[in-house]
Symmetry: C4
Subunit: 215 residues, 4 copies
């Protein structure tokens, strides 16, 4: 690939990446608004504020899980965009669908923050909606990559087959894990919520990278 062609590709995909990055960054930052400070109205003394803050643990966990999941999706988006050299209208739309789901994570996050930890009062439904959002997110991500990669449709001339295969291998099982979390929510909402935390940490840790390097 000539230097000129590479520059054209960078310009071509640059604005889409910048827009995507902004949406990821805003979605991840807005999550904090779902942890609402207990008001003085509800609280009397120092001890009671500690209690009120302690009772917000589902909100903190939901914040951590959603933040990590969006961050990992961003890192992965970053990884595939390094191999994508061109965009077309369909790619922009599929990317838009992914961004809509990234943004939408905010809503089920506030649901689990509100309903987890109160057995029989909506926690099952809240976790089902939460995990269903991650299932959709994982499918949308894989679909975006499949669209770009299948038949080398939008890949950069500098992307090697080995890189392309490695990406495919890494993301193939994401949807399955989240489907498992979704199904687990029918049995135990709390266990499903815990699995989401484990998955976020598992995908965040550079474990798989090292494994790949060893191959």
């Amino acid at each position: 690939m000539t230097v000129e062609a590479a520059a054209d590709e960078t310009k071509e995909t640059g604005r889409g990446e910048a827009f995507s990055d902004s949406v990821f960054a805003i979605a991840v930052t807005l999550l904090i608004l779902e942890i609402r400070a207990p008001t003085q109205h509800d609280i009397g003394s120092d001890g009671e504020l500690w209690h009120a803050l302690r009772d917000l643990w589902p909100a903190y966990l939901a914040y951590i899980i959603s933040f990590a999941t969006i961050l990992v999706t961003w890192i992965n988006h970053h990884a595939i965009m390094r191999l994508v050299g061109r965009t077309d209208h369909t790619f922009l739309l599929l990317n838009g669908l992914l961004l809509a789901l990234i943004t939408a994570v905010n809503f089920p996050t506030s649901l689990v923050a509100e309903y987890i930890g109160h057995a029989g009062q909506g926690d099952r439904v809240a976790v089902q909606v939460y995990t269903a959002t991650f299932v959709l997110l994982a499918f949308a991500f894989n679909f975006l990559w499949w669209y770009a990669a299948s038949g080398n449709r939008l890949l950069s001339a500098s992307a090697t087959p080995a890189q392309v295969r490695a990406i495919g291998r890494r993301y193939r099982f994401g949807p399955l894990f989240y489907v498992a979390a979704f199904l687990l929510a029918f049995i135990s909402p709390l266990a499903s919520f815990g699995l989401c935390l484990l998955l976020a940490l598992f995908f965040a840790l550079p474990f798989d990278n090292r494994a790949e390097a060893r191959r």
Copy 2:
């Protein structure tokens, strides 16, 4: 056009595009804040949370329509900025007007999310305000393009007449469709809301691109 002139043009329009992209990205992401999680206070059991979530359908639809409309406007903004090589103060202002309307979509979105689905209780007014915002948005977009393109005022030296004509043709009918949706709101708010959804999908789908390629 020399490489140097092209680089100058890129620098000239670059910061305006980055600012616009940020506003589009934030406006589209803030929409999710309009879908508010039902509080525990209102809900007793899992079944009731399902009902409460089901009753939020106008909020979900409004989110989808507004997200798609802003995303499509961003893609179109992207398309015209590739043909625009210079900016002037008036262009920045017209662009600012477009951005103000993009941001303002948030407010009528929360109106329709609140009032749709409750006949005779404000849904007519809510949809009128919603569609009127899209009418203004479509006019502002066409006006921005007309200002840049008329007499080649701000077009890049590399923009071909065929590209310019294709853009003009594609956006000319946008305002008409939204005026139709606005008028329909007087007869049936729900039908008008549905038309907005169809228009968002119609403009999002790459249908017109393919049609143009075939000519």
Copy 3:
């Protein structure tokens, strides 16, 4: 100036500009959250929603004034950053002060949206706080420019004395106008609010540019 030196300058100021642009973009977009949709709880019929929306006129005007003022400040920031070739810690701090004030506009905007149009119930104080914010903003902007320009401290080698003088001339009177609006608020809050609208439109319109071109 060599091409290399120009590239260094661009890199040097680039990240500060991008950060500033993001803050401007977010501040301008968050303004819409201050216009809150009337809830179904307060409203009975279509007619009443019209009334409720009509009574929000101070919120719409405050949105327009604040949006236009922040947008114009951004355009002006853009104009001076084209002449600034280097940054130092003090410049970044003064820029941070400007950004803090840009962000802070959100709060007095919600004050005037809440209190304008209800004589004797806080509108005087609300407009005083609103105009005082614009006074501080105008001073911070002039101070930032003065710091960069005095003794050519941080100007780009490519900035001509004529450009530098033109910028100084254009912004010198901004603080005076807003001090006048602040003082007017003691006599008539509504007139002061109207003056803010006129000033936003006056600074937005490309009137002064044309005047300068004719000289």
Copy 4:
């Protein structure tokens, strides 16, 4: 370092910086939402609005402290990223941890805004949580730098040992100061809050820069 290698490094770290900048910018701008305008419902006259606005002083101070602290962290992040030439998965994660904490500052800011100035009613806990967040932030920042710098792991080829040592020296004591503020909160929440303000101003003022230049 060749021009090509420098360009590769810039591309490599560019998207991560842009994402970080966006999160910093959004986090700093969202802070303003924690200062809520007193409603007409609570206020009768102009004088009462003055009183209500005066009583919001903890919210203004918390806004200033948090804004300055995030801004200074951004400036410092900017400084270390100029010396970092490559990123890896672990660096992106540590950076993500820093960004999560930057975003999270919003929550304790709303806590101190709500509880400071009402002795014995939660202000101790609020300031403890506030200062603990800054302790974590300072440690995360130092850890990020340590990871990049130790053994020259990710430093740019153009980073000189003197620059690297200067950075290390500058940030080493940040965590200690915030641990002191945290401990002070057990004795006097108000004094600890004041120390946070002093620290924000101390780190913001270009004092240490000048000191270093003199060495």
